[in-house]
């Protein structure tokens, strides 16, 4: 065949109309993000960590809105209540505490429940006789919610009437008779509202024979209420609830004492609390020494930490990327000058920076904003360093040269061609800023350098420092903030490691 003179009619146009395009890919393309996600999902511990972070995050943002307690609710009576959870009460999470009590204390705690039916003492775990004095010592398991017992309150007339109406409508007794002026031998408690009783035959105590207790050592209580023959007599005005024996002998119990402003009454605090708030007190993490709910306080602190950390990491991301990109891309003199600046910023001790910002700015812009400044001042150095390294690695590669030859501007080269290479390290670095900011913030507030305890918010560090004061007697105040921050740090570190591995293409296929 003569290849030089091929007949023209043998040629046919393959395609004359329409555009020539590549065939569609048969398989799905996998971009670097999708690839990273796929590898991340394979890492079970990181996925678990991500879920934990999400839960803690939701906790921090939902609880302050959803809970009926707020951080400003400070209950003067329900202080340092133990954590109580209905779901996990079998785990010992039942609001009770172990306590060592003398006979008088045992009688006292027993009396609180004796009057209204639910004992403050859940169980007696042991009884010893003190070798020196011969007095018994009880190991009792008391319900911290019941220990408060009764308190005195002062109400104005309208409030008193409303309370009376509430009582008659619901049938729940809130107001109890006033005790007569009498002292028992329990001296540790100044709250006289609980001392409503006399022990049977107490006068015989001097003879040495404890006849006020039955054979098993249980006290025999005799009500010692204030009585008046005329219920409207003088300054007294009492409501009478159904107490057997009241008024039989022409003597009435006194439920309220009139004073200048209104009425002085003795109430069962548990029921009074419910009357005021509409629910019984129930604190999942207990309460602290101010009577604040720790579950809510911790959520407020966590919310602040999260917001602060996210804010800081986003700002650091921007500064770090731009600074590192300029340093790495232009190099030379610009790089040298900028490196010296980073050196100076890096040399400043963080604690000093934070303190100075706090002292100079906290009055003008508030402690949180000045803390953000302190974190931002040197916080972006890590990201800038990483971005700079990536730029040094990629800026002289052929594809960059090709783009430059095609006329791409510096901006385009930086952001479209070189920066995407370091997306993995940038994301990992940004995520890992969050736990370090949360840790530093809790440290600064713990040390008291930053004071966040102004009205309306608190921080985890403040909670920790309060908790430490009561560590020996009430460890739960410290436990939950410490647990929270440990869990958060562990989860973030696992999550960050998972991300780092996921974005590291050299590990592709390593675990398959």
């Amino acid at each position: 065949m003569d290849y030089n003179n091929l007949p023209k009619d043998k040629f046919v146009f393959a395609k004359r109309e329409g555009k020539i395009a590549d065939k569609k890919l048969e398989t799905k393309p996998i971009g670097s993000f999708r690839d990273a996600m796929r590898r991340f999902r394979k890492n079970k511990s990181s996925v678990a960590a991500a879920v934990i972070i999400l839960i803690l995050f939701l906790y921090a943002f939902i609880v302050p809105m959803a809970s009926h307690y707020t951080i400003e609710d400070r209950d003067g009576y329900y202080k340092m209540l133990r954590p109580r959870s209905k779901l996990f009460s079998w785990l010992g999470w039942d609001g009770c505490m172990k306590q060592q009590e003398s006979q008088a204390g045992y009688d006292y705690y027993g009396s609180i429940g004796f009057e209204y039916g639910q004992s403050a003492i859940r169980s007696v775990q042991g009884k010893e006789i003190d070798a020196n004095t011969g007095n018994p010592i009880y190991q009792v398991y008391v319900d911290s919610y019941e220990v408060v017992g009764f308190t005195y309150v002062d109400l104005v007339k309208e409030e008193y009437e409303a309370l009376k109406e509430y009582q008659s409508k619901t049938g729940i007794q809130v107001v109890y008779p006033m005790p007569a002026n009498y002292k028992t031998d329990f001296v540790a408690v100044t709250n006289g509202a609980n001392l409503w009783y006399m022990l049977a035959d107490e006068s015989d105590k001097t003879s040495g024979e404890a006849r006020d207790h039955d054979e098993e050592g249980r006290p025999i209580y005799v009500a010692n209420y204030l009585k008046k023959s005329n219920k409207t007599y003088g300054q007294y005005d009492s409501i009478r609830l159904n107490i057997p024996g009241d008024g039989d002998d022409g003597q009435y119990y006194v439920y309220a004492v009139k004073n200048q402003t209104g009425y002085h009454l003795r109430v069962l605090y548990k029921e009074y609390y419910r009357y005021v708030h509409g629910y019984y007190a129930d604190h999942l993490f207990g309460t602290n020494q101010h009577g604040q709910d720790i579950f809510v306080c911790l959520a407020y602190g966590a919310r602040l930490s999260f917001l602060l950390a996210i804010c800081v990491s986003v700002i650091n991301l921007f500064i770090g990327v731009i600074y590192g990109a300029i340093e790495g891309y232009y190099g030379g003199v610009a790089d040298m000058i900028m490196e010296r600046i980073t050196e100076i910023l890096d040399g400043m001790p963080f604690i000093v920076v934070a303190t100075l910002f706090q002292m100079h700015l906290s009055r003008k812009v508030g402690p949180v904003v000045s803390l953000i400044f302190a974190f931002v001042l040197a916080g972006w150095l890590g990201i800038a360093y990483r971005v700079r390294t990536q730029f040094y690695r990629f800026k002289n590669q052929e594809y960059v040269l090709a783009a430059r030859t095609l006329g791409a501007s510096d901006k385009r080269l930086i952001f479209r061609h070189i920066l995407p290479n370091s997306v993995g390290t940038i994301i990992t670095g940004t995520v890992l800023i969050i736990p370090s900011v949360i840790f530093s913030e809790s440290m600064l507030t713990y040390l008291g350098i930053v004071n966040m305890e102004t009205s309306g918010y608190t921080s985890v560090g403040t909670l920790l420092s309060h908790g430490q004061t009561y560590m020996s007697t009430n460890p739960h105040i410290l436990l939950f903030p410490a647990l929270f921050i440990s869990l958060l740090e562990i989860a973030f570190n696992l999550f960050g490691n998972g991300l780092r591995d996921a974005f590291n293409p050299s590990l592709r296929g390593a675990d398959e």
Partner: protein, 328 residues
């Protein structure tokens, strides 16, 4: 090499000088604490302020400050005086800063020294062990524990140690023995500091363990190790003579950095265990607005930090002769 070292040291001092100047100006710009005493005492405070040059321009004061630092012969302390401003709590009243520093520094150093002396061998051993048993259950146990300890904030262990060892079991006292009654290196002192030492070492152990595991396991995959084995060295010989020596190149500078770091101590651990060290001093000086102390401590911390970085950087060249320092 010497030229490079000298250059780095000179650069360090330039950076230090810039930071120090910035901090000095910023601290001097802070509002002067109000005089809380009245009458004649207030006048005395004002006089003292005048005498100490507080009414001069800030840069003049700065020059005086540097002059005082290098004036070691002066008996009244070269770092300035803690000002008697009638603050109410006059903790360091009329005590030269330098003397207080000299008094507090040993506590910090001793606690940290003990802690790294415990932490370094333990951390290294655990790390080496984990690297040698890589991907076996021993490695997984060590790595998981290390991950937990590295993540959990140091004060959380401090709380745990304090709660269990000091309160619950009552093995250790809550306060540190005073230097009048016990020597710094005596058993009493060690025992009273033990909870703090323990809490400080956790972090270092975990950090060192993770680092040495990573380094050693990377070295162990090297071809020269295979060559060493094929030459006829036993596994132990190959590891101790070849792998360990190479793995130590990045580990040793890190340990050196830790040693420099013992001077600055740990603010939070000293706070929790009420060790009267330098960290506590910083917190107190901030609380009392005792700016002279705060300034001196700022200078001190900055210098320690910079020196730590410098020593770590330079030590690479000394430890491994293959690393050419200052080479482009």
């Amino acid at each position: 090499m010497l030229k490079y070292v000298l250059k780095r040291i000179a650069l360090m001092f330039v950076v230090f000088f810039i930071i120090a100047t910035m901090c000095f100006v910023l601290i001097k710009l802070l509002p002067v604490p109000t005089i809380k005493v009245q009458g004649r005492d207030a006048n005395l405070v004002l006089q003292k302020r005048e005498q100490m040059g507080y009414n001069k321009p800030i840069m003049t004061q700065y020059a005086i400050y540097w002059k005082n630092i290098f004036n070691f012969k002066k008996s009244d302390g070269s770092f300035g005086w803690s000002p008697d401003f009638g603050l109410g709590e006059q903790m360091y009243i009329s005590q030269p800063v330098f003397d207080v520093l000299k008094e507090k520094l040993p506590y910090t150093i001793v606690v940290n020294l003990y802690s790294i002396l415990i932490a370094i061998p333990l951390g290294l051993l655990l790390g080496i062990y984990a690297a040698l048993r890589k991907n076996k259950w021993q490695d997984h146990v060590v790595s998981t524990a290390v991950m937990l300890v590295v993540s959990v904030p140091s004060y959380v262990y401090a709380f745990l140690v304090q709660y269990f060892l000091c309160y619950k079991f009552g093995w250790f006292s809550l306060t540190v023995a005073s230097r009048e009654t016990a020597n710094f290196f005596s058993w009493t002192m060690f025992k009273s500091m033990f909870p703090a030492i323990l809490s400080l070492s956790f972090g270092t152990i975990a950090y060192l363990c993770r680092f040495s595991r990573a380094e050693l396991s990377e070295v162990l995959t090297g071809d020269y190790l295979l060559l060493a084995r094929t030459k006829g060295l036993t596994k132990t010989q190959a590891i101790t003579r070849h792998a360990m020596r190479n793995a130590m190149v990045p580990i040793l500078p890190m340990i050196l950095g830790e040693f420099i770091g013992i001077l600055s101590g740990s603010l939070i651990i000293e706070g929790i265990f009420s060790i009267p060290g330098i960290g506590k001093l910083l917190i107190t000086s901030i609380e009392l607005r005792d700016y002279n102390f705060f300034m001196s401590l700022t200078f001190f911390y900055t210098l320690i930090g910079l020196a730590g970085t410098l020593v770590t950087d330079l030590s690479y060249g000394f430890i491994d002769p293959r690393i050419k320092m200052g080479a482009k």
